[in-house]
Symmetry: C2
Subunit: 126 residues, 2 copies
C-alpha cells in the first residue's frame, strides 16, 4: 500500500515513525504477564485483587506496572469506584479484545504442541 513518490521524504519519515512505534508496542505487550492479564480479562471484568489471585505468581508491583502499561496503550480500561474501601475494575477495550484473539491463539498453540515441545527439550538437553 502507499506507492512511494520519487523523493518520498514525508512518507518515508512516516513509515519510520510507524515502524518504531510498532516496535515499542511489541516490546511493551509481548511479555508473559501482559499476555496472562489479557487472557484473564478476556473472560470478564476483574478487580485488582481478583487479578492478583488469578494470575498466579505475579507480584503486587508487576501487576500495577503492567496494568498501567496496558491502560496507557488503550488495551485496558480502569474504572475507579470512589467507595471505601476503593473498588477498581479492569476491563478489556475493543483493542484489547482484538489482541486477546491472538493471545488465545497462542494458548491453543501451546496446548497443541505441548508434547512436541517436551520431547524436543528432552532430546536437546541430552
Amino acid at each position: 500500500m502507499g506507492t512511494k513518490q520519487f523523493s518520498g521524504l514525508p512518507e518515508d519519515a512516516d513509515l519510520a515513525r510507524a515502524d518504531s512505534l510498532a516496535r515499542e508496542i511489541f516490546a511493551d505487550v509481548a511479555n508473559k504477564w501482559a499476555f496472562l492479564i489479557i487472557e484473564f480479562l478476556g473472560e470478564r471484568t476483574l478487580r485488582f485483587s481478583e487479578l492478583r489471585d488469578e494470575v498466579e505468581g505475579i507480584s503486587h508491583k508487576m501487576l500495577t506496572q503492567n496494568l498501567r502499561m496496558l491502560e496507557r496503550n488503550g488495551l485496558v480500561e480502569r474504572d475507579v469506584h470512589p467507595t471505601v474501601p476503593p473498588r477498581v475494575e479492569y476491563t478489556l477495550t475493543e483493542a484489547g479484545q482484538a489482541l486477546r484473539a491472538t493471545v488465545d491463539g497462542m494458548c491453543g498453540w501451546t496446548r497443541q504442541y505441548l508434547g512436541h515441545i517436551e520431547s524436543s527439550r528432552d532430546r536437546f538437553d541430552a
Copy 2:
C-alpha cells in the same frame, strides 16, 4: 476432556505438570526477540548473520541465546554446513510455522490499532 476420577491423583498430577510446562513455554516464547525472529524466519530460511541484520538492534548474544531457546523448544531447526567459513541456517519447524500464524496476527493487530494506541498514549501521558 478427561473426566476426573473420584480420587484422581494421577490425572491431577498430569494436569499440574502440563500447566507448569505451558507456563514455562509461555515465558520462554512470549518475548519480543523471539517473536521478531519467528516473524523473519517465517518468510524464509536465514543464516545467523542475515538474521542479525534483519532483526535490527539485536545483539550477538541475544540472537544466539534466543535461537538456542527456540531450537530447544523445537520451533527452529539448525542446519550446520561444515564448510569454511561455517554456514549455519535456521528454519522454522512445523510447530514454529504454526506459532508464526499467531505472531502474524499480532503484527496485523499492531498495524490495525496503531492510531488508537498512539492517541491513547497521548491522552494518558497528559
